[in-house]
């Protein structure tokens, strides 16, 4: 165990501001949860929203009991081995069960609060992908594994002085792997977990018929989807600004530019998706525009605190262009049934933002550090998460039985629907 380099101390005004920003950040989680519900079917709406809540609760408990110990913090200790004459900090060592938290420095408490919110966001991302077929107990098991084991390891590597954060010091690659608001730790990890969920749980019954194209299964409530996007924007500002202050130690004077970049990236993404869907389908597509907006926000998690406004807008435009195209490729060419578009929004958006942060960063070798971080998460964490999910699936089956899927998750798992006064349409795919 070796002490990790301490972070520069925050002044009082930065501490107050970070606390206020972190109070706003749960709105990002609420927004994504609303989008997840709206993009699912009406007969699974209550189960989807309750699922988001129990997953968040499970993630909080899992992270507090085990995860926070593994994640550690910047000023704490870490397990280090030496390879090729360099120290590799691979595991944190925080106090067990948050012991002594009340007496810890305020900065450590704020970092821990950020990680709590981040783990909740990461855990609900795969839930949206498993909509209409994933059982509540499976969602809780996924959240427990992500919050107790997978996320804390990555959070330590990226935020708490782990080997990815130290790439700049040890190997001269820029300022080390930069991920100020969780593009890698939250969104790339969440998006890859969503892909693993599809691989383990399979697609919705009737989605890919034996012959012909994939069956369209549109979301049931465009208002939830679009309002969720607006709510998420507020939360994202909280995440991006607090992340810049806590993890990049950005001065207060630079935070307005970070906020502006967040808005520009989201705006560029929405405008680009609007234009692409208008061009391809003759009319703009509401759910794809919502996905484009969120992809822009995810990309801003990596880049908003690092790039200047024009590159931020360009990142948003690129995010908005790839969103509708990738959603289509995943569904029609690769047979990935992702109702919430989480793989495109969170995984692809995060990759774009992380690469952009490397390309537009002031340090010339920053791009290399970003590539190493991406290679680590893609090469190590996707196989790890898939194997963990396969193991869980043996004991807690991810997928509901055929009858449950037919009558809807609300009736099957909760005994009552979200809209009891409305007639639910019969699904043609079961004829």
């Amino acid at each position: 165990m070796t002490p990790v380099n301490p972070a520069p101390a925050l002044n009082d005004s930065a501490i107050v501001l970070d606390l206020l920003l972190l109070i706003l950040a749960p709105l990002a989680i609420a927004g994504v949860a609303l989008v997840n519900v709206g993009l699912g079917r009406s007969r699974s709406a209550a189960q989807a929203l309750l699922g988001n809540m129990v997953i968040i609760a499970t993630a909080f408990i899992g992270f507090s009991l085990i995860g926070a110990t593994i994640a550690g913090n910047i000023g704490g200790t870490g397990h280090i081995f030496h390879l090729a004459g360099k120290p590799w900090n691979w595991l944190g060592e925080g106090p067990l069960f948050l012991k002594g938290l009340a007496n810890a420095p305020i900065q450590s408490q704020l970092e821990l609060l950020f990680e709590f919110l981040a783990v909740a966001m990461a855990a609900i991302i795969p839930w949206g992908t498993g909509a209409d077929r994933l059982r509540l107990s499976a969602g809780c098991a996924i959240a427990a594994v992500l919050s107790a084991i997978v996320f804390p390891i990555l959070a330590h590597w990226v935020w708490a002085g782990g080997w990815l954060a130290q790439l700049g010091v040890n190997f001269g690659t820029g300022a080390g792997f930069l991920d100020p608001a969780g593009a890698a730790t939250i969104h790339l990890l969440g998006g890859l977990s969503a892909l693993a969920v599809v691989w383990v749980a399979g697609s919705r019954r009737g989605k890919f018929p034996k012959e012909g194209f994939a069956t369209a299964m549109p979301g049931h409530n465009a208002v939830y989807i679009l309002f969720g996007c607006l709510v998420a924007l507020v939360g994202w500002l909280g995440f991006n600004l607090a992340g810049a202050s806590l993890w990049l130690h950005a001065p207060l004077t630079s935070l307005p530019v970070t906020a502006l970049n967040t808005l520009l990236t989201a705006a560029g993404a929405l405008a680009a998706t609007y234009a692409v869907t208008r061009f391809r389908f003759g009319k703009p597509d509401a759910s794809l525009c919502a996905n484009g907006w969120l992809t822009g926000l995810v990309a801003s998690s990596a880049s908003a605190a690092i790039v200047s406004p024009i590159p931020a807008l360009l990142v948003g435009i690129a995010a908005g262009i790839i969103t509708p195209l990738l959603v289509e490729v995943l569904e029609l060419a690769v047979a990935v049934d992702d109702p919430s578009g989480a793989i495109t929004v969170h995984a692809a958006g995060a990759l774009l933002g992380l690469i952009a942060a490397g390309l537009f960063a002031p340090q010339p070798s920053q791009f290399l550090a970003q590539l190493v971080g991406i290679a680590t998460i893609l090469g190590l964490f996707l196989p790890l998460v898939y194997l963990l999910f396969l193991a869980i699936n043996r004991f807690i089956p991810f997928r509901v039985d055929t009858d449950g899927e037919r009558i809807g998750m609300d009736l099957h798992e909760l005994g009552g629907g979200a809209y009891p006064e409305f007639v639910i349409h019969r699904d043609d795919s079961y004829r």
Binding site: L83, A84, K86, L167, F171, G172, T173, V198, W199, V200, A201, G202, S203, R205, G206, K207, F208, P209, K210, V334, A335, V336, S365, F367, L368, L371, V372, I374, A375, T376, L378, G379, L380, L382, P383, Y386, L387
Partner: protein
Amino acid sequence: MKFAGLIVMPAGFFLSIAALVLFPAAAPRTAFILCALAVEVVGLIVAVRGHMENRESDPGDSR
């Protein structure tokens, strides 16, 4: 087939670590890390192909 792809992906990660340790100069290090990422992408493509093959043999409920 999916497992074959997933076994290849960590190899890409270890290649990127090897690049950091073995090549101090920027150009070869960048080239090696890009190759490592290419290996991971190949592994991902193989895994995705494995998912598609499962779907073709069991439409509507691919795993």
